[in-house]
């Protein structure tokens, strides 16, 4: 019996465990008492979703958090690509900035929050700084690697056709580094998303999925928290998938990996 080879059977098997877990959750909820506080009935999760969706709060939160993540991503990643190129092209920049970059990178991202809080307060600037930093690290590293490890076979061709430094960068180094730069960007997206949720949670206040979760925790609204978690996962997944599409399009010149 190899039932799990059949596609329909696979879907059924894949749903089995989640359904079991949900049933277990519901059972816990029905026991009542202190547990009912944590294990809210499934029906009330659905109700919370409907309520949040109808009031428009869910949309506001999702849009706020997503645009915050994307703003930080664009700022951090563009700074990261520029620095990565500079470090890759110029030894002096690499010598000067490299050690500093690697030192700063060791600090756990959210460990900067207390310091940044003292510097710029707990507002939007603090959040964007952390999100930007989250996107910055992987883009610098990957861009640098891509530029520094440009293949001799490609740069030779550039030399043969008398390319200037700028032409070499534009036509040889950057396209050659593109696969790695895109890898850096996909990591940046994941990190920026985590950082956005993290800063919203820790700095509370204002709109955003993290802030809503934080508030719901204070109000012991498990149903709201669960809805926010689901939406967080869904948006993260969508961002990753959309970027994977873009990456595939930009790298269409690469032979398909067998």
């Amino acid at each position: 019996m190899r039932a799990h080879r059949h596609p329909a059977a696979r879907v059924a098997l894949g749903l089995l465990i989640p359904i079991l877990l949900l049933a277990l959750w519901q059972a816990q909820a029905e026991v009542g008492g202190a547990r009912a506080l944590a294990f809210v009935p499934l029906a009330s999760i659905a109700a919370a979703f409907a309520e949040l969706a109808a009031s428009g709060q869910l949309l506001t939160d999702a849009v706020t958090t997503t645009s915050r993540a994307l703003t930080g991503l664009v700022l951090g990643a563009s700074a990261g690509v520029l620095l990565g190129i500079a470090m890759g092209l110029f030894r002096s920049v690499d010598r000067l900035i490299g050690p500093l970059y690697h030192a700063i990178r060791q600090v756990p991202l959210l460990g900067w929050l207390p310091l940044i809080g003292l510097w710029v307060g707990n507002g939007e600037a603090a959040k964007l700084l952390i999100v930007g930093l989250a996107a910055f690290y992987p883009t610098v590293l990957n861009t640098y690697e891509g530029i520094v490890h440009a293949e001799r076979r490609n740069t030779d061709v550039g030399a043969l056709f008398g390319f200037s430094r700028a032409q070499l960068l534009r036509h040889v180094l950057l396209p050659g580094a593109l696969p790695l730069i895109l890898t850096g960007l996909s990591q940046a997206i994941a990190f920026a998303w985590i950082a956005t949720i993290g800063t919203e949670l820790l700095l509370g206040a204002g709109a955003g999925l993290g802030a809503t979760m934080s508030l719901a925790q204070a109000q012991q609204r498990m149903d709201v928290i669960l809805v926010a978690i689901a939406i967080t996962g869904l948006i993260g997944f969508t961002l990753n998938t959309l970027f994977a599409r873009l990456r595939g399009h930009l790298l269409r010149w690469q032979p398909a990996i067998a």
């Binding site: 059977a9 749903l15 465990i17 756990p108 959210l110 207390p114 310091l115 985590i194 926010a228 967080t232």
Partner: protein, 252 residues
């Protein structure tokens, strides 16, 4: 050896220069003390906290949380990932759920876990374990799945018994990606632990920093940034060393 040392010296030179510059700027009163204090003050704060035992207490509690949580999460991740890779049935059962949960940033689970577990030790250890679980499970799955078919065929050809097969073939072949997964898991566990301690704790490096922030003790905050960075660096470097030792058989 000497050239290695001099290279490290060269690498550190800009950092040292920056510290000196920072010290000079602070001494000249370029920064208001509530914005940035001199590196010497940070060192002084570190020394003071070291002497009165505060730093050691915070550090040891944070590291204990990290090690227990990481140990549990990594072990669970290894077992789970390997099982999923070896059994198509396990993959069909747990794969979709795993992939779905993986989409959620671990930090997003914090409020839910606070409600389920409270904010005591249990909570922090579970969070750290979850942070370690996902990357390790993924790496174990990829590592075992990535073992070339030819290895299995050789084992079949020579009728290698299961245990030697696991120990002599599967384990060495899957080790490199798993070690990388462990390293990522450890770094992520440290990040999440600091976040947890910032959010809700009575002790630990993160709590130390958060308290200092509320008291406007920027020297202590900077000391915390330094210590957490150093720990992060040592953890990463430690696993990298193990990776290098274990992978000597692989072409560099």
């Amino acid at each position: 050896m000497t050239s290695n040392l001099s290279r490290i010296g060269f690498g550190l030179a800009p950092l040292v220069a920056l510290l000196l510059l920072w010290q000079a700027a602070s001494a000249a009163g370029l920064f208001p003390p509530q914005v940035l204090v001199a590196p010497a003050d940070v060192v002084a704060a570190l020394l003071a906290m070291w002497r009165n035992g505060e730093l050691v207490a915070h550090l040891s509690i944070s590291l204990t949380r990290l090690l227990i949580g990481f140990g549990l999460g990594a072990a669970a991740g290894l077992a789970f990932g390997t099982a999923l890779a070896l059994s198509r049935l396990a993959e069909a059962l747990f794969g979709p759920l795993f992939q779905a949960l993986r989409q959620v940033p671990v930090l997003a689970f914090l409020p839910m876990l606070v409600l389920l577990l409270g904010i005591e030790e249990r909570f922090k250890i579970v969070v750290v374990a979850i942070a370690a679980f996902f990357p390790v499970a993924l790496a174990a799955f990829d590592g075992v799945r990535g073992v070339p078919r030819s290895h299995f065929e050789v084992a079949k050809l020579y009728r290698t018994p299961l245990l030697p097969f696991l120990g002599r073939i599967l384990l060495p072949a899957a080790t490199p990606p798993v070690l990388t997964g462990l390293r990522i898991g450890l770094t992520r566990a440290w990040l999440v632990l600091i976040a947890c301690e910032l959010l809700a704790a009575g002790s630990g490096i993160g709590q130390m920093m958060e308290m200092a922030r509320q008291l406007f003790r920027i020297d202590v905050v900077l000391a915390g940034v330094f210590v957490s960075g150093l720990i992060g660096f040592l953890l990463d470097r430690g696993v990298k060393l193990i990776e290098r030792r274990t992978l000597r058989w692989k072409a560099a």
